[in-house]
Symmetry: none
DNA sequence: GATGAATGAGGCTTCATTCAT
DNA sequence: TATGAATGAAGCCTCATTCAT
């Protein structure tokens, strides 16, 4: 039915609006200090209405995190897969992740705040979920490394160690950029990241 | 007076006991979910007693963070300065930081939780303080890099970029170790970190 | 809208119910000993509900005092203005104030307790407000006296001194009545007050 | 023994010092906001020491009130009794009470605050005591009036009504003076009080 | 006798969630 | 379906009193 489809579309629009505003508020105040009333207010709905979209404040928070994060993982994964050349894949990965951070400053600030784990004891659910999602993503990166090793362009070394190192460098640069919030684009850091990760910092003796 | 000195020693003992237990509880539950009663209970003091040592729950939290973190910074800095050889300094830095993490698992988990910033609006104080302390530490690392460049053992490159990359790799490995908490010592990762950081992951063509 | 008006009416009903019960509790126990839970209980609302009507215990207390007191001032002022004859005005004033005391025994007991000033340091607000309201009222009484002087029915004397004296006598009788709480109506004291105030207690020599 | 007498003298000195400081603090902050620590601090003794002089905060408060108030009652009574002339007795009474207020501003402010009754429910003791003391004092004043009536210098009227009126006027002037705290001496009000009380405010027709 | 650190009951207030309209 | 007033559990903190030194 036409009507049904419209309904669903509207439902999703509202849901997304709530998610966006929630991300903004959570980023600004942190999970505990942000109140459901704040979010209801910001998104223009009544408190009760929020509860028709999300079971609880915690579930809403979980949705904010996992859905947006999932987008980033998906985007990056797609971009990397679309790049045929192995070494270039790494550059694409860095670029894609930095772009996401630049386009989602507020959302990413949540991770700087990082209170995504100080939830009620019972709710290890989100914690587990995020750790698992991250693990899945890292093993994708690990796969990229493994292919590089097999192809002989990367050193013989545990690929997971490579993946973790790369993620660490990326996170470090992104965090610094989010905290400092200077005018310069995060993108200027793509080349340094790739250079250090691939070539290291030691000067080669001749 | 003799008496006074004993008093002060006891005072510090109690204070430390509270700090330790608080670190444990905060690590386990996060700032907001941990209650003052929890901490009082764990440390064996009455609630009111905590308030003779720390003005508020927030100040206690701040003390937990800044004091222990300061120790880590100091320890690492000392170890690095004691090492004369430039390239070895980097290895010592990694080793020292990993050792601290291994010896302070609970405390370091706080950073995995990372809710050290979602405090009451007014209390940007702790936030600023920690960011500054971290910045000071990073610029120490930056200094090490700069010397390496001048000595011709490290590439010509912004030393701050090197420092951030190294910190990122260290954090990444430490976080994974804290989350996974497998039996293996974090120390087995020292060599990989140094190898990747110094030599990169790309296989050198001959 | 009809609905809105009903809502507002209900809101005011609830608010008044809370104010009344709060007056009762505050009068019985004093500001500090009365607990918010007491008042919630007495008024049949949940604790949280009180906070939808009044920001804080202190504001509730302030509302109890200023709103009822305002009513008394207004009532008395109106009654006095409606009386044309100057000397009679004084009798009307005494009658009106005594009537209010009789009809609001519990509320007035608050002033016998009189802890309306021992609030948190910052809250000089209520203190100032009440002193000012009282001052305004006294200057109204002063105005009555001034007219009496101009009309030649009262002695040549600072009218403010007269007003203060009259208020003092009234308060004294009202307080005694509130403390003793005998069966006799406070109204039997109207004539003595007027007699003493107008004629004094000295026997005239001939 | 000499030693014992000195001890007792010292004890009383300390006790008085505490009472004085307590009066100051209670006057400034009110019973509930004043802490035992405040008083200990102000009087230069340790908290524990206060409890060797007074059983509890409440008893200390009671002592502050009843002892000083008793002094005022006694002083005034003495002064009035020393005055032979009946009508002059009234003037002496007003003068004496005003003098006490002027010399004990801080103490008297307690009554302006007036939270001497919002104590724990059980402690009706102080309340009763003060009401009784006041009643005793008023009946002394009543006695003066009665004598005046018998001697034919005061009108035929319930002497208690006269006494209450006089006390009311005195309190009213004293309160206003305490609140306003202008530079002018309270003594300038003696004559007006006496004039109004004895002669009333109505202009005598000839 | 003097001290003051330790105690812990109890107060005010917040805010996620429900449910009658 | 949308609303938002009502709810009440639970948290942080204060402060009178005790008691070991």
């Amino acid at each position: 039915m036409e009507k049904e489809r419209r309904k669903e579309r509207e439902f999703n629009l509202r849901r997304t609006e709530i998610l966006d505003q929630a991300a903004r508020i959570f980023a600004a105040k942190g999970f505990h200090s942000a109140t459901v009333a704040d979010i209801a207010n910001a998104s223009g709905f009544a408190i009760g209405t929020l509860y028709q979209f999300f079971e609880s404040k915690e579930k809403l928070y979980a949705a904010v995190l996992t859905e947006k994060l999932g987008m980033m993982y998906a985007e990056t994964q797609k971009a990397v897969e679309d790049e045929p050349e192995l070494l270039k894949k790494i550059e694409v990965l860095v670029t894609s992740q930095f772009r996401f951070v630049e386009n989602n400053t507020e959302f990413c600030s949540i991770f700087i705040r990082g209170d995504y784990l100080s939830l009620s004891e019972g709710s290890t659910e989100l914690r587990e979920r995020m750790i698992k999602d991250y693990a899945v993503y890292v093993s994708f990166v690990e796969g990229v490394m493994r292919k590089g090793i097999r192809a002989g362009v990367l050193k013989e070394m545990e690929p997971i160690l490579m993946a973790d190192a790369l993620m660490g460098i990326i996170n470090s640069y992104a965090s610094k950029w989010l905290i400092a919030a200077e005018g310069q684009s995060l993108m200027v850091n793509v080349q340094p990241v790739v250079d250090i990760f691939l070539g290291g910092v030691r000067k080669n003796a001749h």
